[in-house]
């Protein structure tokens, strides 16, 4: 968050319509993303109630648990969900290319992408994964083979979604708030209907008017929690009807009514995002996603065990470090890809932009620790940004991301940077390797180069070439038979 963001919020409020927060799309959007809108039974940790799922906006698959307290029906639901998701994941993840490198590695040609309405949907998906990945397919309490397999993939996808910029499993409200600014508060932005109301209101309505409809009792919540009144007035009766008659009609009808509006909004939102051009960083991150999927695929096919219940202390620390690295790299890349994002950093003084007013091309110095004189030209920029960077700070410019520079002097409105590399091997800087007078240029302390030092793959996917994975959590009989009530 930045002052710019707060300012734009105020402006959106006054205008009655969301304003852009990005000029390009910072996530990859699959050609046919798998939309997954799950609902759970109130009061239960992970009792699935229903889901609408599929890749075709016009023909969603509706899955329901007509009696959510019946354990067999819950696992049947998971098996049915597996029957939709697993073929999709398998089809995509089985097409693999080998990337030539010092250590060649595999990468899927494409990757699955699951879109859920909100962060709550991701969390619930993780719980579904946790509740099903240890299940056995033989012996007492046996479940269909699809169940544990689905559990492992759902766990994998939910874990990946914690990494900033991963597009494998994404929450729609997060995506939308990363690309638009509404005139309502963050908790209200967590409601897909209200959020979309601000961004893309129906004809003839303002954002706040459309958002207010989200509070209408007739607008179902986007889940995973249902409206208590719906539970009381419709669902309870429908379930009783099933208990008495064995017919799932009423439950299906009731839940369809709750899911369909959200389903349609999901595709409306996908349409809005698709209209934005994908950023180069998003494409690069998707490549990494594809590597991760290939690794997980290989891990499963190689007979690897399901993910453990908890990380060991060491694994947890490593994971945290990876999450942080991904976050930093994502933020920097986003700013380099998008002047509107960079503007937030300029507003906060960690980036500045302005016109080059003087260049000293001939300056040569002996760098600290060096022996020979090398060219270190100085570029002086005039800016009106409130810069908070100090002398000696390493900076980079989005227009020349591979060249580093150092701030050598700074006074009100006038900043001088020394160009440190990327000027060729000659005694003089190569033609065009130093920004010329009159150029408008932006410098920042952000360094998307972090992404070149890509975060290590998750523990269970440590390639064999790197010594193989550390000891794994081995599920026990108790895990497999864990009662589910």
């Amino acid at each position: 968050m930045s002052l710019l963001h707060s300012y734009v919020k105020v402006r959106a409020r006054e205008r009655g319509r969301a304003l852009p927060r990005a000029t390009v799309r910072h996530i990859h959007l699959a050609e046919a993303p798998m939309v997954f809108v799950p609902l759970r039974l109130a009061g239960e940790a992970a009792a699935p109630l229903a889901a609408m799922v599929g890749t075709d906006p016009l023909h969603p698959t509706l899955l329901v648990v007509p009696q959510p307290r019946n354990r067999d029906l819950r696992f049947q639901f998971l098996a049915d969900l597996g029957a939709v998701l697993l073929p999709y994941i398998d089809r995509i993840s089985r097409q693999v290319e080998t990337v030539e490198a010092k250590t060649p590695f595999d990468r899927c040609l494409d990757a699955p992408q699951i879109v859920v309405p909100s962060a709550g949907g991701v969390e619930f998906t993780a719980k579904l994964g946790r509740s099903s990945r240890f299940r056995r397919t033989t012996g007492p309490y046996a479940v269909e083979p699809a169940v544990p397999m689905l559990g492992r993939w759902l766990t994998f996808l939910a874990e990946q979604s914690e990494f900033a910029g991963s597009s494998l499993m994404v929450a729609m409200t997060d995506l939308l708030t990363a690309h638009w600014v509404t005139g309502q508060s963050a908790p209200e932005d967590g409601d897909l209907a209200a959020l979309l109301g601000w961004i893309d209101p129906p004809d003839g309505m303002t954002g706040p008017e459309a958002a207010a409809l989200a509070d209408d009792p007739l607008t179902p919540p986007a889940g995973p929690d249902t409206h208590p009144e719906f539970d009381r007035q419709e669902l309870q009766k429908a379930i009783e009807h099933y208990d008495v008659t064995g017919s799932t009609d009423q439950v299906e009808q009731a839940l369809h009514g709750q899911l369909r509006p959200t389903w349609d909004r999901m595709w409306q939102a996908i349409g809005l995002l698709a209209a934005l051009k994908e950023s180069p960083g998003a494409t690069a991150r998707w490549e990494r996603d594809r590597v991760h999927v290939a690794m997980h695929r290989a891990w499963i096919d190689g007979g690897g065990l399901p993910q453990g219940k908890r990380d060991s202390a060491v694994a947890a620390a490593k994971r945290l470090a990876r999450l942080e690295a991904a976050q930093q790299s994502f933020e920097a890349t986003r700013a380099f890809d998008d002047p509107l994002v960079m503007a937030e950093y300029r507003a906060d003084g960690v980036a500045f932009a302005g016109e080059v007013v003087a260049v000293d091309l001939t300056r040569r110095i002996v760098p600290p620790g060096g022996k020979r004189e090398v060219p270190r030209p100085l570029v002086t920029i005039e800016t009106s940004d409130p810069v908070r960077l100090g002398r000696g700070k390493k900076v980079r410019s989005p227009s020349r991301p591979r060249q580093s520079a150092t701030i050598t002097a700074i006074s009100e409105k006038i900043i001088t940077v020394q160009i440190d590399d990327g000027m060729g091997r000659g005694a003089q800087p190569a033609e065009g390797s130093v920004p010329g007078v009159g150029t408008v240029i932006c410098y920042t302390e952000l360094d998307p180069g972090e992404s070149r030092r890509a975060p290590l793959p998750p523990r269970e996917e440590t390639p064999w070439t790197h010594g193989g994975p550390p000891p794994e959590y081995v599920p026990t009989d108790d895990d497999a038979m864990e009662p589910w009530s």
Binding site: S6, D216, P483
Partner: protein, 357 residues
């Protein structure tokens, strides 16, 4: 006290429970909430009279689940609870007494039941009797000068003369982790009981560590942890003492102020509510029944607060949307104390426009 009853008029007051009292502390700066709660105004009814959607109910499935789990923990003389306390606190095996304080024969009035609770708890504190687990105590709290009885939805437990509150909740502890907001809510509620129990036996005899009993993982099997509620106790005490000074707030209301939901028209109710200053913030949405009303009002008044704490802090003292946009416009006159923020806003306005263009 009389003034508060006068405000409520003939409409029955809303009963307090641990949840509603815990919620008092959610927005301590709000006069509106303080007065409505002190006068025991039925807030859901108020909202219904003003035609707002009621979103505060609990799902019947959640209620049922909670009841089932509570019954399980308490079944067979609280056998599960006893096991958990033995594991968690090394409760000696001899300490197995269970008393249901609801068993009071024919006298079922609040006062009689509370008296019974007090008597048994005091005896127990003095080392008389054999009660270790005291189920369903009816505790009482002073809220704005009124004595409110708390729903006896809790267990008190005594070990070596020291009492603990046991809260049974049906949200799962999954792989040793529970949902933080749910644990905080449970801690706030438990703090209300700790506070009320301290009123009976004295401050030093009730532990600030409450025992939280929840289902483990995806099972029904109960598991227990201790939760430190010191912080919640401080917040609660502060808010309760604020309510005892309610007179100062009432003095600012017009003469003959009434919020009698049964006799006033909806227009009159709206006007009466509007006469009490509010402090709306988006956090109200999950803490106060009036939030949709206050939000609407805050937006009508173009309050920056309604956009969230970050926006409010960023705008450093500018209170309205219009003012913020005006000072961000070059050439507009600016008050001295807003000169700095105005300059920064003009800068962001310019670079935003540049970047979008």
């Amino acid at each position: 006290m009389n003034r508060l009853d006068g405000i409520r008029g003939g409409t029955p007051g809303q009963d307090h429970n641990a949840r509603s009292i815990a919620a008092l502390a959610a927005n301590p700066a709000c006069d509106r909430r303080a007065i409505l709660d002190a006068a025991a105004i039925d807030k859901p009814l108020l909202m219904k009279r003003l035609r707002f959607d009621d979103r505060w109910g609990q799902s019947p499935f959640a209620i049922q689940r909670n009841q089932q789990f509570t019954d399980l923990v308490k079944a067979n003389g609280a056998a599960h609870l006893l096991r958990l306390l033995r594991e968690l606190l090394d409760l000696p095996i001899e300490e197995a007494g269970y008393v249901n304080l609801e068993d009071v024969g024919g006298h079922e009035g609040h006062l009689a039941r509370h008296g019974h609770t007090r008597r048994v708890i005091k005896q127990t504190a003095e080392g008389l009797g054999r009660a270790t687990i005291l189920d369903r105590p009816l505790l009482r709290l002073d809220v704005a000068g009124a004595q409110v009885y708390l729903e006896p939805d809790v267990i008190a437990f005594q070990l070596g003369g020291m009492f603990h509150i046991v809260a049974i909740k049906s949200f799962a502890i999954l792989d040793d982790q529970a949902d933080t907001p749910k644990v905080s809510a449970a801690a706030r509620e438990a703090a209300v009981y700790v506070h009320a129990l301290r009123d009976v036996v004295g401050r030093d005899l009730v532990s600030h560590d409450v025992i939280l009993v929840c289902p483990k993982d995806f099972t029904n099997a109960p598991t227990a942890t201790t939760v430190d509620v010191r912080h919640q106790l401080v917040t609660l005490a502060r808010q309760l003492s604020r309510l005892t000074r309610i007179d100062a707030l009432l003095d600012r209301l017009p003469e003959g102020f009434s919020l009698d939901l049964e006799t006033l028209s909806s227009g009159e109710i709206e006007a009466a509510v509007a006469a009490i200053p509010a402090r709306y913030a988006p956090q109200c949405l999950s803490a106060c029944e009036l939030s949709h009303l206050c939000r609407k009002e805050a937006h009508l008044n173009e309050q920056v607060d309604a956009l969230g704490r970050i926006v409010r802090d960023d705008l450093g003292g500018i209170e309205s949307v219009t003012t913020a946009l005006r000072v961000a416009t070059p050439g507009e006159p600016v008050a001295d104390d807003q000169a700095e923020i105005a300059e920064r806003l003009r800068h962001v306005a310019r670079i935003y426009d540049e970047a979008v263009a």
